[in-house]
């Protein structure tokens, strides 16, 4: 540390009131942190609670009475099922494609020396640092200038694009911690490059690849801004919510939202449990 000795305060005597102040500050911080967590979680509680609401009007904003009807009939609203299905299709396809493309880039970045590394890193970084509305509008201008019809294909193209960077970052973080000598040892023992990849590299990076795939899936399901700009008349689930917000908000939206939340939560817990089991500390 570069704190020069003369900058340090003169030694002070310990006194009780300073300790009392410190204790108060200690609890003040805890109190503040709990309030911040309440702020973060309150809307989630509202989403879950209002999935059991029987709203008075067309908008599910004020509490009417408790009901299970929405859960018994989650797709009981025109176009909702189609929107959810489209979201899942796009998320599945785009996360698989982006995971493959992004993992290959991450392998190149971690395992090889090559010219153009700086430019590659920049190209990976920029999509994560650009506002979605700019990416969405520039893609839309590309499609408009070539008269490409907007719909499934253009949504898929966009989702693969914005997912690649996140996959690269996730897999690279996982790969960087591993010993490349393992692969060199396999090669020395006459494993072919393909066998080395399949038997050594892939098992090592599998958890990172899986995590990246899940992240890509989640980002795809949640994306609104880019999808909205390049979608044409097709509707993903977030687009359905956007359209609904203007005319009617059915409680089924909260049901689907709660389902998505629960699924993500379960996957996160599985991921944590998986890592805990793999780590030497947790294996006891």
């Amino acid at each position: 540390m570069s704190i020069a000795a003369e900058q340090l305060p003169a030694p002070r005597r310990f006194d009780l009131s300073a300790r009392a102040v410190a204790a108060a500050r200690h609890h003040l911080l805890t109190l503040f942190a709990i309030l911040a967590l309440v702020y973060l979680l309150l809307p989630i509680a509202v989403v879950v609670a209002f999935s059991f609401n029987d709203p008075v009007g067309r908008f599910n904003f004020t509490w009417g009475s408790f009901t299970l009807d929405n859960w018994a009939n989650p797709f009981g609203f025109p176009d909702l099922r189609g929107a959810v299905v489209l979201s899942l299709e796009i998320a599945a396809l785009s996360s698989i494609a982006a995971t493959i493309l992004g993992t290959l880039i991450a392998l190149a970045l971690v395992r090889y020396h090559f010219r153009g590394r700086g430019a590659t890193n920049l190209l990976i970084f920029l999509p994560m640092a650009s506002p979605e509305i700019v990416m969405g509008s520039s893609l839309l201008t590309l499609f408009l200038n070539y008269s490409i019809p907007l719909g499934f294909a253009t949504i898929l193209i966009a989702h693969i694009m914005f997912n690649i960077s996140y996959v690269v970052v996730t897999v690279r973080a996982r790969l960087a911690g591993h010993d490349r000598h393992l692969e060199e040892a396999a090669m020395d023992l006459f494993a072919t490059p393909w066998a080395t990849f399949y038997r050594v590299t892939l098992p090592l990076i599998a958890p990172g690849v899986l995590a990246a795939g899940l992240l890509a899936f989640a980002l795809s399901v949640d994306d609104f801004v880019i999808t909205y700009l390049v979608s044409g008349s097709d509707q993903t689930f977030p687009l359905f919510v956007w359209g609904a917000a203007r005319v009617a908000v059915p409680p089924q939206i909260n049901v689907i939202g709660t389902m998505v939340f629960a699924a993500a939560l379960v996957l996160m817990f599985l991921n944590i449990a998986f890592q805990w089991r793999r780590s030497p500390k947790g294996a006891a």
Binding site: A36, V46, L104
Partner: protein, 289 residues
């Protein structure tokens, strides 16, 4: 197989090719078309053609100046608010979290598991005129009898703060968590008060997280239009609202493209100034972490 042995230098490029080609084609090339479209003239029925139409840009600055300024203001205030809320929270998790750290972190990113639009609609419920928050504020006389929260600037900024808060909290947590606790103990052993140890040791060491969090919050916040649309009124419209309506409702593509281009240029300039002020290595180091 021998191909790979003989041409080992080629392997990284083969690995990079498909992914980078995709990014070049659908991220870099579209930026060119954004600029190209922004200089087109015409109308929707006869079509837009390239005409060096710089008036799209002068219109962007004259007609929509207020929207630009408002976007930067809202994004700035929301970023500051997110920082003030996240820093103590991240600090608390990093230093007091103990074995609950991972679980607490899960709570911080939990909002991301609820679709963006749905969690913003939830704020509409919370801030509603008949909601419990407005009731409480009225009882405490913090707002008038007919005072409201929904459809105000406060609601829009609060919504933006909420939606991007985890982007601020996570980098802060990462940089605080990485600090060697012995450095702080050393400062206190050398008779630095708690406050002084924080200001001279902990906070400077957490700066990469501050820079990364600021950028990750400010950039999406400046382009946001969902919070202004769902929680505000036409008086709170941001530049993102104008861009989306010019594209999707008015179909004035050149104007929309010019606005988008100006927004991007403004953000790039702001980020460069910021990076120059604090040192570019610190910015990228924090973002990479």
């Amino acid at each position: 197989m021998n191909f790979f042995h003989r041409h080992r230098a080629l392997v990284p490029y083969l690995l990079l090719l498909p992914g980078l080609a995709w990014l070049a084609l659908f991220f870099v090339v579209p930026m060119y078309y954004l600029g190209y479209t922004s200089l087109q003239a015409g109308d929707l029925f006869s079509g837009y053609t390239f005409a060096w139409a710089w008036d799209n840009y002068s219109d962007a600055f004259t007609l929509y100046r207020g929207h630009f300024i408002r976007s930067l203001e809202y994004a700035g205030v929301a970023t500051l608010a997110a920082f003030l809320i996240s820093y103590p929270l991240a600090y608390w998790i990093a230093f007091r979290g103990g074995r609950w750290k991972n679980f607490l972190l899960l709570l911080v990113i939990a909002p991301f598991f609820v679709t963006y639009l749905i969690r913003t609609l939830a704020w509409k419920t919370i801030l509603a005129d008949q909601g419990f928050v407005v009731d409480a504020l009225r009882t405490l006389h913090l707002v008038g009898e007919d005072g409201r929260l929904l459809a105000t600037t406060t609601a829009v900024v609060a919504g933006i703060t909420y939606n991007f808060l985890p982007f601020m909290a996570l980098p802060l947590y990462v940089s605080l968590e990485q600090i060697d606790k012995r450095l702080i103990e050393a400062a206190q052993d050398l008779y630095a008060s708690r406050v002084k140890a924080f200001l001279r040791v902990t906070f400077p060491l957490s700066l990469p997280g501050v820079f990364a969090g600021t950028l990750l919050t400010f950039i999406p916040a400046a382009g946001d239009f969902i919070n202004a649309e769902l929680l505000g009124t036409p008086r709170q419209l941001m530049i993102g609202n104008v861009i989306q309506s010019q594209f999707k409702e008015v179909a004035n593509y050149p104007q929309a493209a010019a606005l988008s281009f100006v927004l991007m240029a403004g953000i790039v300039i702001a980020v460069l100034l910021y990076a120059r002020a604090v040192g570019s290595e610190r910015v990228t180091a924090g973002t990479a972490a």
